[in-house]
Symmetry: C2
Subunit: 503 residues, 2 copies
Amino acid sequence: MSPQLHTGSETSTFKVPKCKKVLRVDTINPQVREVQYAVRGEIAIRAEELKSELETKGSNLPFNEIVNINIGNPQQLKQKPITFFRQVASLVEYPDLLLDENRDKAKLLFASDAIERAKILVNACGGSVGAYSHSQGIPHIRKNVAKFIEERDGYPADMNKIFLTMGASAGVQLALRFIIEHSKVGIMIPIPQYPLYTATLSLYDGQAVPYYLNEEKDWGMDIGELKKSVDEARRKDIDVRALCIINPGNPTGQCLTEQNMREVIEFCQRERLVLLADEVYQENIYMPSTRPFHSFKKVLKSMGPSFDDVELISFHSISKGMIGECGRRGGYFECQGIDKEVVDEMYKISSVSLCPNIQGQIMVDLMVSPPRPGDESYDLYKKEVDDIYQSLRRRSNLLCDAFNELEGVTCNRAEGALYLFPRVRLPEGAIKAATKAGKTPDDFYSLAMLNETGVCVVPGSGFGQEKDTSHFRATFLPPEELFSEFIDLLKRFHQGFMEKYRD
Amino acid sequence: MSPQLHTGSETSTFKVPKCKKVLRVDTINPQVREVQYAVRGEIAIRAEELKSELETKGSNLPFNEIVNINIGNPQQLKQKPITFFRQVASLVEYPDLLLDENRDKAKLLFASDAIERAKILVNACGGSVGAYSHSQGIPHIRKNVAKFIEERDGYPADMNKIFLTMGASAGVQLALRFIIEHSKVGIMIPIPQYPLYTATLSLYDGQAVPYYLNEEKDWGMDIGELKKSVDEARRKDIDVRALCIINPGNPTGQCLTEQNMREVIEFCQRERLVLLADEVYQENIYMPSTRPFHSFKKVLKSMGPSFDDVELISFHSISKGMIGECGRRGGYFECQGIDKEVVDEMYKISSVSLCPNIQGQIMVDLMVSPPRPGDESYDLYKKEVDDIYQSLRRRSNLLCDAFNELEGVTCNRAEGALYLFPRVRLPEGAIKAATKAGKTPDDFYSLAMLNETGVCVVPGSGFGQEKDTSHFRATFLPPEELFSEFIDLLKRFHQGFMEKYRD
């Protein structure tokens, strides 16, 4: 890219006419321009338009509301926040509620253990949730994260290797920024993948090195496929340095077996790859007996000291699980086997953005240390979490069954996460009509679904898919009581679409 | 930078021994390595160590606490949050408080207008502050920001050209990312400057094009200096595309006159520069009759339609003013004269990070639409804001006077913002001792101050300063009742230091 001058000074030459803007779509950072982000792409924008149209009286649309199953946004679809968490979040904001003189009044509205926890947290913030904290996150909260990891995995965790972040996305972006030393650095990403990865690689000018998940084998990982992918990239002089895994998978919902994870860790050691483990769906496990969640940290540690050199960064978030506090932007990552000097540099870069937002940090604390048996809030907490969990499990099965009943559609069951990723075999007529409209078949199908039903999904091409296949991603987050109606709507649409374009 | 391969695959060559980490300080993104960030640099880290030492019983330090006047972190230094703002922040977190059945209990603890506002905001969030919002920010809040700008300036503002952000820093970083098309793009920055600018330019591989503020003229801007700076850079083939201004200034506290601002806008038009106006201190104005705040948007609009083509991005934040809610990470920027396609790209990039945190967005709403006369909370709100304001003004003068009494120290009065930036003329002996210790004189002086008094400032070299001068930045945020003690401590330190190194 050769510099193009934009100047009115006599000392330099004009290369653009003076009437044009300095900042134009053809003069901005080209990496910015190249970013593609389907989750909030064309279809999401069309959904916003339809939503405005619905709000205008006299709309002639064939539906009454937009059902956003395109984004994992539980509380937008009426998932109720966990009471204890929100009581603490409320109390820390207004410390007058914690004063002894207000105790009786506060106890009419808040549980005692919520009041106690809020006091501890306000104190840990240095007295106010409105102050900047340590750039790596409040030490008290990082200590609790370390404890949580130790209890989960049975191996020690170090609070100084934990960074609190504004959602897992911010952590993933920080890690990728560090790893991409130059534009030939390659990062292995699953296909299908959550498009944060490809978008960030475009933005930071790195190379995406795709490896395919196997749809026929429940979207499992195949070491042969990984090896093929890394070898092919290296033959093209791509300097492959990291492997990203989303487990449980997004959009695929797979949950890796321990055996498979061991093979992946061995592969990373052999091929000298930093392992980035996006584990934000670790609580969303729907087949716990056959497909439980294992953290990569635990599996790595269980493999003994000869694997201690493996470089692993694991990400977690308050956005998913049964918490679903995604708008709050909170999360953390843990470094394992990462060079101390690199961790120091991570701290330096975090400090440029001052600190992760305190409200997100506080929710991380609550996530990693929820009420325990015997605490005043425990029973309610337990019931709320169990209810959400059981309902998500039922909904995932209901929607999966519904998809599998549709003509030409097959869908793997969600072992974890919040999504289904059905494959749709579209008639030739639909593929031709899509081409004529300048769209991919999956875009064409998903846009038709939105326009006819108000149901907003994300076309598979936004995540990547095998050539000549069409998928879409749908969350199973709409309220359970609306499920039969919403499934009916989808069925009728699909049938009509297939009829219209039948060969 | 030529690619360096790190691989264990047979298909490629080893260039590093296998025992080394993939991710090392010499293999990370070189831009990351180059970032310098003094506000949280060596001295801040030393302050953290001393704080830990103080917490350990039996410390032998000559002071009892660390006074952090290195960062504009008002609530860390006991500035009380505004009650109305925090009541609303508390209520939105726990919507049970808004239920009719809890109204009587809630009214024991919260003002009625806070309850009403919380209802509006929860509704504007789609029912929960835990859900992702529109990536550009909640429309209702952007509408209120537009109204605020219109009332402040007397010119229309468009909610679709306003982006809510996680603090002003995130907005500045987004703008710089867009403008830096390639590594020869230059961005004009004031010296002294807030180091976010140089840090971000390192990170995004752009060129800092410094222009000097004039210490003798109350840190004013001189168009001749700007012209000299841009010409010199362009002669070196730097493609200068933008001019950053911090007004009121950080660390310098200057507040630009309207006449000076007009000249700057004319300069930007003539030289084809995007103007980035960091106006986060717009409420911190201590000489309102002689040096009132004018926004660049207002001044630009007042210059008539022939200046409508000037590209301006203005930044504001909830972190400063009398709010001081910096840990919450909230802010916004407004685009003026920015190409529509570029604004669309900004939306796309914002969507990759999903949305700014809702708690920050809510505080932006409260900042731009505080209680009005006649509202239940108005009197208390007005009193709290006035008290903080008057106290900041008194403290800025007290500290400035104290600095000016010190031998060899001169300090301009703060017309605005939260900082003083005194110049210290150090004896030759101190300069020699600094060189011997491998430090700049200002680093050496500031570190000595920290070690002897517990007062933590930022050395001037972190912001940039004229060659062979030494400054430091100090906030005047410590509680007023501690001022005389803390000033005494500084005086004694300074005197001792000067004695020790006297020529």
